[in-house]
């Protein structure tokens, strides 16, 4: 589930290299499990510049609201309209169809500073 082509941050977002310096970002399976049934996501706008660690949106389940943190720095190139209209996609397929947005990285080397799948798994005690 937490595959080697993905990178992670301790706020439970994942990052996957798509093409060149563009990455996709979502919340992890672990995060969606903790949140439960998702009912609302608010994402940054296409074109918006984001910095690592910034609060850039919110993910809400029936029981709680959770801030969404930017795992990387760059510019938003796409958001997943499917997950906006049906947030449960991020429950059922958090690492694939339930991706949230794409970012053109300021510095592709930032990926090397993120957690590997193994490190993330040990972080969440899996």
């Amino acid at each position: 589930m937490y595959t080697a082509d993905m990178k992670f941050v301790d706020t439970h977002e994942w990052v996957r290299a798509e093409n060149g310096d563009e990455v996709s970002v979502g919340i992890t399976h672990h995060a969606q499990e903790l949140l439960g049934d998702l009912v609302y996501v608010e994402l940054p706008a296409v074109g918006q510049t984001i910095k690592t660690g910034d609060t850039i949106g919110v993910v809400e389940s029936v029981k709680a609201a959770s801030d969404l943190y930017s795992p990387v720095s760059g510019q938003i190139t796409a958001i997943n309209d499917a997950v906006v209209s049906d947030p449960t996609l991020a429950n059922s397929e958090p690492h694939t169809a339930g991706w949230l947005f794409k970012v053109k990285l300021d510095d592709i080397a930032e990926l090397d500073t993120l957690l590997s799948a193994d490190k993330y798994k040990s972080l969440i005690g899996g």
Binding site: Y40, E60, V62, K63, A65
Partner: protein
Amino acid sequence: MDFGGWALPVNYGSQIKEHESVRTDAGMFDVSHMLITDIHGVDAKSFLRYLISNDVNKLEKHGVGKALYSGLLNNEAGIIDDLIVYLMPFGYRIVTNASTEAKDMNWIRQVATNYKVELFNRRDLAMLAIQGPNALKKVSSVHPHITDNLEVLKPFMAFEANSFFYARTGYTGENGLEVMLPREEAAGFWQFLIEAGVQPCGLGARDTLRLEAGMNLYGHDMDETINPLACNMDWVVDLSDESRDFIGKKAYQLAKLASDSDKQVGIILEGKGVLREGQKIIIDGAECGTITSGTFSPTLKISIAIARVKHDVGDKAYADIRGNLEPVRIINLPFVRNGKKLFE
């Protein structure tokens, strides 16, 4: 999660699925954390007539087993707790909240010193709430010996059989039962109900169900600083017998005369996001209320809330959701009863 010192599940699986099972079929909640107290003694009736805001005098014409919802008020008419009282063969039984157990019992025992009553906390009993349109049918399939009793059981009535106490009460806005039973029998009963197709539900679904049904949650929608007028509990203050004195009566009557008490309303989000407790209600840039419970409604697929607002607030306002003013509609509670939406 920790709830008044009790470890309780927020959800067993999907909270939305649990919620839907109660609206369309049958679900059950382990509510053994709630405190059952039996009141015996020659003064039991006069004690309760003074202790609580509703009048137990009206129970007798319905007979043993009749239930009544009430507030437990302090001298300022603030709400110490809400409770259900049942008329029993030996006197009365009250069911109060878990999170308020210590202060409730201190208060009740203090008032009781002036009456010939004895109070027994029944921690030897467990309590399961089985709720939903098929709840009675499924309980009946597990306990066929009470099928006839269940068929004639009216809302807010209860009966006892083989040391199980079955009450047609609940906290979901659906038909259903709350069953009090010897705690050592609870696990077996639960298992039989699962086999009968009753969905186990956690505190999460309990919260979304009661919110849709417009029912208060103690510590959120009301507390000791809130009087019954400001939380839709006016109807459980019984002033019909003018000669009856009860705790908080004078303060309540004064608040009622002033007629500028806040009121409790339902809020429907028309903008983006999810309404949550603590968010402010805004009209013309001015704060005029606060959300006391908010969620996403699994039945209605929109965000709804209970709010306490100024008495003259109309039907349109804004909610401040993380700094964004989102339009909301204001309605009379509840949102949902017996599986049906109750507003246009």
